[in-house]
């Protein structure tokens, strides 16, 4: 149409990042723009590539353990757990019940910190500053709890092959119970401040819709998938660790837009609280470390694929052992990698103003994509 007016139709290139506050790390997106509309988006990744898979091949199994906390630094304990479970499978070790309980509790606490951080950072992307202060206040309490047990506040390296190295105490359990009731008492504030906020609803309803078909084609997992109404959660679909012993639900959305993904993440935190609460009441006494863990980890020849549910979706580790003290090959299947590969399709024909809203809503952690 525009040609009729004698105006030449032109597109231009807009460069977003790699240093941009709303790309949550070093991500660059090359945008082909037609006015305010995006006609092509090409993410450029790899700025944070440290070669973790390569590192895995030239150190022994134990030495690779700390690397797992540096992939998805927001839900590091789930990554720890995946690696430990994969190696335990290769070595055929059974983890004591108490250790499984401790793993689930700490991993769920970690999931809450991750979702809380997403909540604050995402709303900040949308221009709301206050929720960030609310959720960091709550998050601080979990970090203190995890700090007591694991010795670190972010890049955890807490689980060991066969169990956990340090036991939890009554103070930790009391702290968990206090935190559960604290966060529950805060839900009202969160919902009044954000969930029912008319600006937020208009900004996110019917924006960035993900369909079931797209999830299958791109391998999208986590809250992004569940927001589209598919109840796929590794904790239920492929039960591991102590999860089968707990009563919890998998929240799902209906439309698959940003708002649904937001609601799913908030509802998931409540489910995590339920798991922690049950674990506090049911935790058995007993050893925290399996008895027959060899000093020198040298799994027999074979391969294993282990998946866990992290805050961002299905994280899988594919380990090939050739009977050596070093892994022959480790592939890290990170959820954000698959979720991010969908982004170009998601961004096409949207307004540039929605770009940040869309990008934030799939909750990517860049070091996990780059590995």
């Amino acid at each position: 149409m525009i040609e009729l007016l004698g105006i030449e139709e032109k597109t231009y290139t807009l460069n977003l990042g790699p240093q941009h506050p709303s790309t949550h790390g070093v991500l660059r997106v090359i945008l082909e723009m037609d006015g305010e509309f995006i006609i092509k988006a090409e993410p450029v990744i790899g700025y944070g590539h440290r070669g973790h898979e390569h590192m895995a091949e030239n150190r022994n199994y134990m030495q690779f353990l700390p690397n797992l906390g540096r992939l998805d630094y927001l839900h590091a304990l789930a990554y720890n757990q995946c690696y430990c479970m994969a190696v335990e499978k290769l070595l055929d070790i059974t983890v004591p019940e108490r250790a499984e309980f401790i793993r689930v509790m700490t991993s769920e606490l970690n999931r809450i910190t991750s979702h809380l951080l997403w909540f604050g950072a995402y709303l900040m992307d949308l221009g709301a500053f206050t929720p960030f202060l609310y959720c960091f206040d709550d998050r601080e309490h979990v970090l203190d709890l995890l700090d007591r047990i694991t010795g670190s506040r972010l890049t955890y390296c807490y689980y060991r092959f066969g169990g956990v190295p340090t036991d939890i105490d009554d103070d930790f359990l009391a702290g968990c119970r206090a935190f559960v009731s604290r966060l529950r008492s805060r839900w009202n504030d969160y919902h009044n401040l954000v969930t029912k906020n008319v600006i937020f609803i208009h900004r996110t309803r019917d924006v960035g819709i993900i369909t079931r078909d797209q999830c299958v084609k791109y391998g999208i997992t986590g809250p992004n998938l569940r927001g589209s109404g598919i109840p796929y959660d590794i904790r239920k679909s492929e039960p591991y660790s102590a999860y089968p012993w707990f009563d919890f639900e998998i929240p799902v959305g209906t439309k698959g837009d940003i708002y649904d993904r937001y609601v799913v993440r908030l509802a998931e935190m409540e489910q995590s609280l339920r798991i922690i609460e049950q674990a506090c009441n049911k935790i058995p006494d007993g050893p925290i470390m399996a008895e027959k863990v060899p000093k020198r980890i040298k799994p027999p020849e074979g391969e294993v694929y282990q998946a866990v549910e992290t805050a961002r979706g299905s994280f899988g580790m594919y380990i090939v052992s050739q009977g050596d003290v070093k892994p022959y090959r480790i592939k890290l299947r990170t959820p954000s990698f698959a979720n991010m590969s969908f982004f170009p399709e998601m961004a096409v024909d949207t307004l540039v103003a929605d770009l940040v809203a869309n990008l934030g809503s799939i909750d990517v952690v860049i070091p996990e994509i780059d590995r």
């Binding site: 990744i45 790899g46 590539h49 070669g51 898979e53 390569h54 091949e57 030239n58 150190r59 022994n60 030495q63 499978k89 999830c215 299958v216 084609k217 791109y218 391998g219 998938l225 598919i230 796929y232 679909s237 492929e238 074979g302 391969e303 294993v304 694929y305 282990q306 998946a307 299905s314 899988g316 594919y318 090939v320 070093k326 022959y328 090959r329 592939k331 299947r333 990698f337 698959a338 991010m340 590969s341 969908f342 399709e345 780059d370 590995r371």
Partner: protein, 148 residues
């Protein structure tokens, strides 16, 4: 059962191996071995059965490559591992037109192993800089001898 459906659906493709996996040991319900040229058909069958591509990678076995595709399903617990042996300096047909999610996985394998994918829409380095002249996950890549 998805596992039985997949076994039936894969039968006409005359694959080298379609066998039940040892889930407790490897995490696979179904183990498949295919030749490179058969991979697009396998992918098409997996997509028709509603499976998603969970992961794709390569393993450098020194004389050959072993390409490993993992498929899983949102509806039922059933993981399929497809192993494809590939000679060194040989190319592989892409499956990115079937699973668009495979686009990045194939670029990553091209980047880190130097394996070429035929008919890939945009085969270029993904994680390493554009001007890198090495493929770090090859076993004869210098630094992988490393000190420990």
């Amino acid at each position: 059962m998805l596992k039985d459906n997949l076994t039936t659906a894969l039968a006409p493709l005359n694959l080298e191996k379609v066998a039940e996996g040892d889930y407790a040991k490897t995490g696979y319900h179904l183990e498949v071995a295919a030749q490179p040229a058969q991979m697009p058909d396998v992918a098409q069958t997996m997509l028709a059965a509603g499976c998603f591509l969970e992961s794709f990678t390569a393993v450098d076995l020194r004389e050959t490559f072993d390409l490993v595709y993992h498929f899983a399903s949102f509806d039922e617990l059933c993981r399929t591992a497809v192993h494809v042996p590939l000679g060194k300096k040989k190319g592989m047909p892409t499956i990115s037109h079937i699973y668009p999610g495979a686009d990045w996985y194939e670029r990553e394998v091209f980047d880190l192993f130097g394996i070429h994918f035929f008919n890939h829409p945009d085969l270029k380095r993904l994680l390493l800089p554009e001007d890198a002249d090495f493929h770090p996950l090859l076993k004869d890549f210098g630094a992988s001898q490393g000190n420990d």
